[in-house]
């Protein structure tokens, strides 16, 4: 049964060769829609390649909130042949995809370059509308109009803008909003380019309107002006970067790796004006250890990486924990593993790794935000936790979140509080009696800021006494282990429940979905569709993975009638954690490990298949 969202959304895909400017064009389109008051969610898929391979940007928009994409495409805008039919022609044995034509919904449309000379019959689809636009010719006309006739070759990248203009013309959207969005992208030195691009978009929209009679079934319209809200378009890496600056980040270290690099490069660009330093290191071992050195000296420090880099950080992580450094906070942007895996694709397969990042027993905190706002809040709070409990923290994120674009309302920053934890003020310069690793009931020892007279301490990665000197003494060992581990209980007590998990929907329901991280958007959007099947649905989203809110989660799950776990991995890693912590085994698992994020349909169909076919485990992959 169609839901309001499935009736009103508009799914638009722009496909073309990587490096050909499709990102910029799709983001202009997203901006034009956001400014028209629509909710927008956009995600990009690309290869680990610099230029030439197929990439596509999908923008889903609706007059009501939308946080996910669907399998259906309502309008496909193709810059090349591969976007239409895939790469089977070049890669006979293992084609990487079959193009997007087959995903276009009946009544939907395809806008493409007439110069590709594709016969309508080649599409094999009598149920869709085709809009071949002579990109080059339209561009030539537009350039002539702004006094740049005969220069189409030079400005060939503007084919993208032609495609964009044509698609807006076909969809029937407000063209002025597109022009405004183009102008806002090309400001300052690029202002001349703005007018050329506007001319190209205008000419293309006019061409599309005047050359075709048939219109696609689904149209795109802005919401009435008085209902438009001021929304920004933000990606996960930006939300995290801004949160870190707000939290007082002093040093960010990194070694380039997809999909973590964007966040560090963002901080490199924005950091200096906020007196934040960013160091590109020689490897991830250096990255984490540099951050630990800074944390011990009292500066808030972080490092960002993906699975392969996190693997190298293992040793440093344990070092931070045993020396009770206040941090660092490690931002782990998950991608498809194992090993180099799928560098530019998404996955949720590092949860168990983040929970067990190093040898030995030690306390640390792991938090996994599910959307833009949670990414901001959890990134901010993680620095408070690192300082307060003197532990390393992992913020577990996903490629999907890093690079997806969300139209978001302003984040409420009014309640943010910096908490640097307990900093010891020496009574005198001798510092007699100061014990950096003093045994305490809550596990937290007094720390000083090196450079202070009276605050001198020594610490070591070896087991140590309260003064930080090496000892293998038995009683000390037991006391130190207990003291360090006690920090987990302290943190569990103090961290508010709202940061630990959320039960979305009614307290009791026929069906309880369980998940974590960035599948949140698709699950929330899918709930109304699952409810339309005639059952009530709620959704337990777990955020704090360590210390795990075992009692609360156990209580919810024990009273749940039917549970379905949804994860973007092969081995149901949250399911394992829940079983370990609560003894509860979830009834069904819906899993996806093709390196792509869940579409809303995959959630719905996966859950339906699990329930109707009584299958313990269902794998979905509609791509």
């Amino acid at each position: 049964m169609p839901t309001e969202l499935s009736r009103r959304e508009f799914s638009w895909v722009l496909g073309g060769p990587q490096g050909g400017g499709i990102n910029a064009s799709a983001e202009i389109y997203a901006k034009a829609l956001t400014r028209g008051g629509l909710h927008v969610f956009a995600n990009i898929e690309f290869h680990s390649n610099i230029m030439g391979k197929h990439s596509y940007y999908r923008v889903t928009a609706a007059p009501i909130p939308v946080r996910s994409h669907v399998d259906d495409i309502h309008m496909l805008v193709a810059l090349d042949q591969e976007s239409l039919f895939g790469d089977a022609a070049e890669r006979k044995h293992y084609p990487s995809h079959t193009g997007h034509v087959h995903q276009v919904a009946p009544g939907g449309s395809i806008v493409y370059d007439a110069d590709l000379k594709i016969e309508p019959a080649q599409f094999g689809r009598g149920d869709i509308h085709l809009y071949p636009i002579p990109f080059f010719e339209v561009l030539e006309e537009a350039l002539k109009a702004v006094g740049k006739g005969g220069q189409s070759r030079k400005y060939i990248v503007m084919r993208n803008t032609v495609a964009l203009g044509a698609s807006i013309g076909v969809a029937g959207y407000d063209e002025e909003l597109l022009f405004e969005a183009i102008r806002s992208e090309f400001k300052g030195r690029k202002a001349e380019a703005a007018e050329m691009n506007v001319a190209a978009a205008r000419a293309a929209a006019a061409y599309a309107r005047s050359h075709f009679d048939a219109r696609p079934d689904r149209r795109l319209a802005p919401v009435p002006i008085e209902q438009r809200k001021n929304r920004m378009l933000i990606k996960g890496f930006q939300a995290v970067g801004i949160a870190k600056l707000r939290a007082g980040l002093g040093l960010q270290t990194y070694y380039p790796i997809s999909p973590a690099t964007d966040e560090s490069v963002y901080l490199e660009a924005k950091g200096p004006q906020y007196q934040c330093t960013v160091v590109q290191c020689e490897d991830e071992i250096a990255s984490i250890n540099m951050a630990i050195g800074a944390a011990h000296m009292g500066v808030r420090a972080a490092t960002s990486t993906a699975g392969p880099g996190f693997a190298l950080m293992s040793e440093g992580f344990g070092f931070a924990a045993i020396t009770e450094a206040p941090g660092p906070v490690v931002f782990l942007w998950q991608r498809g593993g194992p090993s180099t895996g799928l560098p530019t694709r998404t996955e949720q397969a590092d949860l168990q790794f983040a929970l067990h990042p190093a040898h030995g027993d030690f306390p640390h905190i792991v938090v996994a935000p599910g959307d833009i706002e949670e990414s901001f809040m959890d990134s901010f709070e993680s620095f408070n936790w690192a300082d307060r409990y003197q532990v390393p923290v992992v913020v577990l994120l996903e490629k999907f979140l890093a690079s997806s674009l969300f139209s978001s309302e302003p984040i409420d920053m009014s309640k943010l509080q910096i908490d640097r934890g307990f900093i010891y003020q020496p009574a005198d310069a001798d510092g007699d009696g100061y014990r950096r690793h003093a045994i305490t009931a809550d596990g937290v020892s007094p720390r000083t800021l090196p450079g202070m007279p009276g605050g001198i301490f020594s610490t070591t990665s070896d087991e140590h006494d309260p003064e930080g000197h090496i000892t293998e003494g038995i009683e000390n060992r037991i006391a130190m282990m207990r003291k360090r581990m006690a920090k987990l209980q302290t943190a569990a007590k103090e961290i508010p429940a709202a940061s630990k998990f959320t039960l979305h929907g009614p307290r009791q329901a026929d069906l309880t979905l369980v998940a974590w991280g960035a599948t949140k958007g698709a699950i929330l959007d899918a709930m109304s569709e699952l409810e339309a099947d005639g059952r009530t649905v709620n959704f337990l989203q777990i955020r704090l993975m360590r210390p795990f809110p075992a009692d609360a989660v156990a209580a919810i799950l024990r009273s749940a009638r039917l549970t379905v776990l949804i994860e973007n991995n092969y081995s149901a890693q949250l399911g394992a954690l829940i079983a370990e912590q609560t003894g509860v085994a979830l009834d069904h698992h819906v899993l996806k490990y093709d390196g792509r994020p869940f579409s809303r349909n995959e959630i719905v169909e996966g859950v339906r298949a699990a329930l109707s076919e009584q299958r313990k485990e269902v794998m979905v992959s509609h791509a």
């Binding site: 934040c276 071992i285 050195g293 000296m297």
Partner: protein, 319 residues
């Protein structure tokens, strides 16, 4: 062991103030004692307030050094002293940061950081206790042990070449390169003082005897008892020796000074050059950061007002 000098009345900090009461658990006669004492004396000579110094070490016998010096101390991981020291210095550029570790620590497992710290040129000092063996793990060959040598804990002679740390340091871009001998404390103190005073990363390799595992490079061997003269050759005994680059913009001069240093570092096994090999004044990483964040010229990062930032403009850019 060298004698302990009492603090002259004019000195604020006594030598004693640089020492802890922690039991030193090195083997009797270990060359590490000479290096420890030299570091303490250098800090004393420089009158650096102990609370303004951070000693940062790797893992190994040498890694225990910070426990014996009464300053801030981080005894880190095997091979990772340099990155930790770098982070510490970036956080607080008013601290004197001294990284120490063994030759296995620095040239083996930590080789990547040895190389990259040279090109980064943070204002800190790195001292390597070079004994030709992995001391703490009981005497396996270290990266500096020459091919064909077999110490008493090795079943067979080494079939790999030893590396030349001075040559590597020249290539890596260290702006001050020196070498000392653990048992010549007087010269070593002077080298450490110069190394700490140098602005940029100073690298000091120190020949260190390991009487328990390295039965080849003994005190007697360095003294040249078998050849009738010391094997240690002091570079400063040569009146023509001038390791300082006067014009840092002159590639010719840099190449000439590096070439001389390289020659000195490759002298035969019976002539072991010690002293300052190379020195140049170049902008430090810290200086360059301060061009991006000018407040760092006056205050360390840890003291900057980082917690009241107005990030609203960053959101506004996305609207």
């Amino acid at each position: 062991m060298p004698e302990t000098a009492a603090a002259p009345a004019s000195k604020k900090f006594s030598l004693q103030q640089y020492k802890t009461e922690v039991h030193v658990d090195w083997c009797p006669g270990c060359g590490d004692f000479g290096i420890l004492s030299s570091i303490q004396q250098a800090l004393f000579q420089l009158q650096l307030p102990p609370y303004k110094v951070a000693m940062i070490s790797g893992i190994g016998c040498s890694g225990k050094t910070p426990h014996y010096i009464d300053t801030y101390g981080l005894h880190t991981l095997h091979g990772r002293a340099l990155p930790v020291a770098t982070g510490a210095k970036l956080a607080n550029n008013q601290l004197t940061v001294v990284a120490v570790g063994g030759d296995g620590d620095g040239y083996g497992i930590g080789a990547g950081y040895f190389l990259n710290s040279g090109r980064r040129n943070i204002d800190m000092t790195y001292i390597v206790f070079n004994n030709g063996v992995y001391g703490l793990t009981k005497g396996q060959a270290s990266p500096t042990l020459a091919k064909g040598l077999k110490t008493k804990s090795m079943p067979d002679p080494s079939i790999q070449e030893g590396i030349n740390p001075i040559a590597v340091a020249l290539g890596a871009g260290y702006t001050w390169i020196g070498r000392g001998y653990a048992l010549d404390v007087k010269s070593l103190v002077s080298l450490i003082v110069q190394a700490i005073n140098h602005k940029g990363t100073s690298f000091l390799d120190v020949f260190q005897t390991c009487p328990v595992y390295n039965d080849l490079r003994t005190k007697e061997w360095y003294a040249g008892e078998d050849i009738g003269r010391t094997r240690i050759r002091r570079l400063d005994a040569d009146p023509t020796w001038n390791p300082v680059v006067a014009d840092a913009s002159s590639i010719e001069e840099i190449v000439e000074k590096k070439t001389r240093a390289l020659h000195a570092s490759y002298e035969s096994g019976d002539n072991l050059a010690v002293g300052v090999f190379y020195s140049i004044d170049l902008p430090t990483y810290d200086d360059q950061l301060a061009t991006k964040v000018p407040a760092l010229k006056e205050h360390p990062l840890v003291d900057l007002p980082l917690y009241q930032r107005d990030v609203q403009p960053l959101f506004d850019e996305l609207a």
